[in-house]
């Protein structure tokens, strides 16, 4: 019989057949004994058990990995957000690459203006977007497919992190064991740099000093548990 299970520890609601209930909460890892259960009435909206998620503690140890609600990101004004992914494709295979992602995964791909017509940088919408090509729904992202010369070495995929000040971010990265790979450069009118983190993972830094995400103006409406 299908039921709604709500985790008492984090508030995560899920609907399962009784035989398929996981041993622990996929949201926070709390054991099955922490699940509150009620009948499935055809829609999650009809559930009567609602658990308030715990509140964020601004004084918690940031190195403590035990379950806690994520911190308030509004004061960072977007600094540190991962905004795009970057993957690469072999020069001369733009058509095949586009077909692979559009046909198999339903993406919408735009050639970036000002890049090589034969081997364009491609900007990829992977889900619902706004008229100016930003993701419209939470918890997914858009990204770039960038051409590379196929000489046997495939460039490392990366991601684009929004920062307010590249120089300050690079300074902190170097202090924390990172490396500067490429000094500041301009692409599509914006300033970027490339770094590696302490482990060797590559990141592009995208400097957006005046950018203010909408949630900093209007606040975060809810956290999903409602």
């Amino acid at each position: 019989m299908k039921k709604v299970y709500t985790c008492y520890a984090c508030g995560f609601p899920m609907a399962f057949e009784e035989t398929e209930v996981p041993a622990s909460c996929p949201g926070c890892g709390a054991p099955r004994s922490q699940f509150l259960e009620e009948p499935w009435l055809g829609s999650i909206d009809k559930r009567r058990i609602h658990v308030d998620p715990p509140k964020a503690d601004p004084n918690r140890d940031p190195f403590d990995l035990s379950f806690h609600p994520a911190k308030d990101f509004i004061p960072q004004k977007g600094d540190g957000r991962v905004r795009r992914w970057v993957m690469y494709y072999k020069k001369g295979t733009a058509g095949e690459t586009r077909s692979f992602y559009e046909d198999l995964f339903g993406w919408d791909i735009l050639d970036v203006e000002g890049t090589d017509n034969e081997n364009p940088v491609m900007y990829c919408a992977t889900g619902p977007g706004t008229p100016d090509w930003e993701p419209r729904v939470c918890s997914f992202g858009y990204g770039f497919l960038v051409p590379f010369e196929d000489n046997g070495e495939v460039p490392e995929p990366s991601m684009v992190v929004e920062v307010k000040n590249i120089d300050e971010t690079v300074k902190k990265a170097l202090e924390c064991g990172g490396k500067l790979i490429r000094e500041k450069f301009v692409f599509l009118g914006d300033t970027y740099a490339e770094i590696r983190d302490s482990e060797g993972n590559p990141y592009y830094l995208w400097e957006l000093p005046d950018n203010v995400p909408d949630y900093c103006i209007h606040g975060v409406a809810n956290t999903g548990a409602q």
Binding site: M14, F16, E20, S24, P26, C28, G29, P62, F63, F67, H68, P69, A70, F73, I74, G80, R81, V82, R83, W85, M87, E96, T97, L104, F105, G106, Y123, A125, T126, G127, P128, D132, W133, E134, R136, V137, C138, S139, F140, G141, Y142, E156, P157, M159, V161, E162, T169, A173, E175, C176, G177, D197, S198, G200, D210, N211, V212, P213, D214, T223
Partner: protein
């Protein structure tokens, strides 16, 4: 100033994604690390990220392991570390027993079709199923028999990028904030 975009004045809007499906959405970024404290120190002090140990249901790793998986919020997050505001991706992080994993998207695939069917379409288009754990610690044989929040398959695209594919369990209620689609 409002949100900075890549294309403030494009000639057209992106297409409508009208299917009741998250197939193809790049949900998270997969990143690996070698040293737990060193990696945390970088994430916290350089980017201001926040993170929890990935629950065993999503990592396959028991709680308290010295090399935990991590869910990392890079911006506002729901209680389960899904993003809560549009425009940023959170991270699915795991320890790399050998060399670092290739960064790549944790991409959702069709939850209403058999896993094998989806993978066959991809391999018929030139993708490769990665099974060698020395190439990816997340590589595994296909198994569509269990509800799981772990990645279901690692695919190499024709240019050598890795895609970490995930098929959502049937527990999805479509009430979740991230399940919105175009009408």
């Amino acid at each position: 100033m409002q949100e900075k975009t890549t294309y403030p004045n494009p000639n057209r809007a992106p297409k409508k994604f009208t299917a009741k499906s998250l197939h193809g959405r790049t949900r998270l970024m997969v990143v690996s690390y070698k040293d737990t404290h060193r990696f945390l120190n970088f994430c916290i002090n350089v980017f201001g990220w926040d993170m929890i140990e990935t629950p065993e249901a999503a990592s396959g790793i028991p709680a308290g392991d010295p090399h935990p998986g991590m869910l990392v919020a890079t911006g506002p997050a729901q209680y389960d570390y899904e993003g809560v505001t549009p425009g940023h991706m959170n991270l699915f992080v795991h320890w790399a027993p050998g060399k670092l994993e290739k960064i790549g998207p944790f991409m959702e695939i069709d939850m209403d079709h058999p896993l094998e069917e989806t993978i066959k379409k991809i391999t018929d288009h030139g993708g490769k199923l990665i099974l060698d754990k020395t190439k990816s610690a997340l590589a595994k044989p296909l198994d569509d028999s269990k509800q799981s929040w772990q990645p279901h398959a690692v695919i190499e695209d024709p240019s050598g990028n890795y895609l970490y594919l995930w098929k959502c369990p049937s527990s999805r209620t479509w009430d979740e904030l991230e399940t919105e689609y175009d009408i």
